[in-house]
Amino acid sequence: MISILEELAEGQRQLSGPLVAAALTPVDTSEDPNRLQSFYNFSNAAQISTSLRHYLTQTCRLKIPKQELNAWIDLFSAYWKVVGELLKFGESSTRASWVQVFDNWRDLANVLIRAYTNFGFENWTISCLYVVGKYLRLFASKADAETSAQSSDAFYQEDATTDFGKNAKTEEAARVLNRMFTLCLNDRAPLEASRKWGVYYMTNLLFKTYFQINAVGLSKNLLRALSAQAKELPDLEDFPKSHIVTFKYFVGVIYFLDENYGEAEEHLAYAWKLCHRNATKNKELILTYLVPCHLVNTHTLPSKKLLSHSPRLETLFRSLCDCIRKGDLHGFDTAMTAGEEEFVRRRIYLPLERGRDIALRNLFRKVFIAGGFEESKDGQPPIRRTRIPVAEFAAALRIRTHADSRTRIDIDEVECLLSNLIYKGLMKGYIARERGMIVLSKGGTAFPGTGV
């Protein structure tokens, strides 16, 4: 019993894409630890086509149109070759090579693409594109890692040579994946039988590939192609949620990297809401970008509860958020320096830095609250003191920047910080310079959105 062939035959009988895709998944399973080996032993290089043909038409008595049958046989012959390459890793031989695996898998991918364009593969088989695309990317990155390990073992190690062609196979994979993307996007068949249903899956694979080789800019070509076809595509909500969430996450991050935090937040929030509740790692990744977006857009912090669910997010954001909340400028600067490497690596440094304004706003808000209330007149509700000496803000800055009493804080500098916050809409009021006072807006609007 050869489980790969059984899955293939059963997939053909039921016209089930997932079953055929399972056959094309190049791994051993716990149920069948010799899955690949037993398929490989099924035949040999000279006879694999004949053996497959005999198996499908005689043993399983499948009736498949001739051209299509030939395409399946070509596909699984190509697959058989890759399996041979993969098995070399188990033989502890030195002939095993991820570059070989990749090259053979790329051939398999091309056979599959041709099966769609020339030999009438129908849309029920679309899961085959998914699994072939997925492993194409995986094998490419293993091949590139292998190549770079070998070249760094070699005696020449000049920067120019090690960097050159570092991602050669991954780039090649991206080109093949792009053809698969087009194959899905441009299918003219009616929607119910269309490969268009595969378009977001392929887009997501390409996003991952482009991010991996630091070519995020190329992602925008995909977005342009998608929006040009928007009218012909099914609604996004009608796709499986795994496709939607992944797509929305990447689109959000792409806007994020463009510093378009408004658009970014919309897409990321959408991804967050639809994400599977048990997908911890993916939820953390979404929040890694959603939290800075929200800070920039609404000047609001994540709740303690949200961070407490995830140690990774705690480490990333906790101390920064505490400092922002307390208006602790010194602490904020320290936390930014401490986290700098990680923030830069995750490309969230820039928006987080904007948190300093929020920290300053919160510090000045504390000064306002410490100022207390005017004496209320005949039963009127008490009104906060809205005229505050600039010197009080200066004193607050001294406390929070850990200046000692002899360090002078320039009043001009404080006025500059105040007018900056007013300009950014974080405070409402004006500076009465001749009196050394700041006059804040009355009626709970001095610090918009914070309740006072």
Binding site: T25, P26, V27, D28, T29, S30, F89, G90, A96, K134, S141, K142, A145, E146, A149, Q150, S152, K208, F211, P240, K241, S242, V245, T246, Y249, F250, W272, K273, L274, C275, H276, R277, N278, A279, K281, N282, L285, L301, P302, S303, K304, K305, L306, R325, K326, R346, N362, R365, K366, V367, I369, A370, E392, A395, A396, R398, I399, S405, T450, G451
Partner: protein
């Protein structure tokens, strides 16, 4: 899932002799494949988040911290006195 895991193990085992240098940096940050293709509405984060389906618990609603406000008020008064004294 067990498929990919066994695949990864196999890959690692075969690579270890020739390669110690970790390439995990990017993998660690990569958006993972979901173990299932689709899931019902009630398994989404939105549904599990709260009863009315809104992200009320996500963000801090209030900036007020009354205990700390008093502390700060005292600290501020002391600081102002210090400044006056030094003039």
């Amino acid at each position: 899932m067990s498929n990919t895991q066994s695949e990864d193990k196999k890959a690692e085992a075969s690579q270890q002799p020739q390669q110690q240098k970790p390439t995990v940096l990017e993998e660690d940050d990569e958006f993972e494949d979901f173990p299932v293709d689709d899931w019902p509405e009630n398994e989404t984060e939105q549904a599990s988040g709260s009863t009315n389906g809104n992200n009320v618990h996500l963000w801090e609603e209030s900036w007020d911290d009354d205990d700390a406000a008093e502390d700060f008020s005292k600290q501020l008064k002391e600081e102002l006195k210090k400044v006056e004294a030094s003039h």
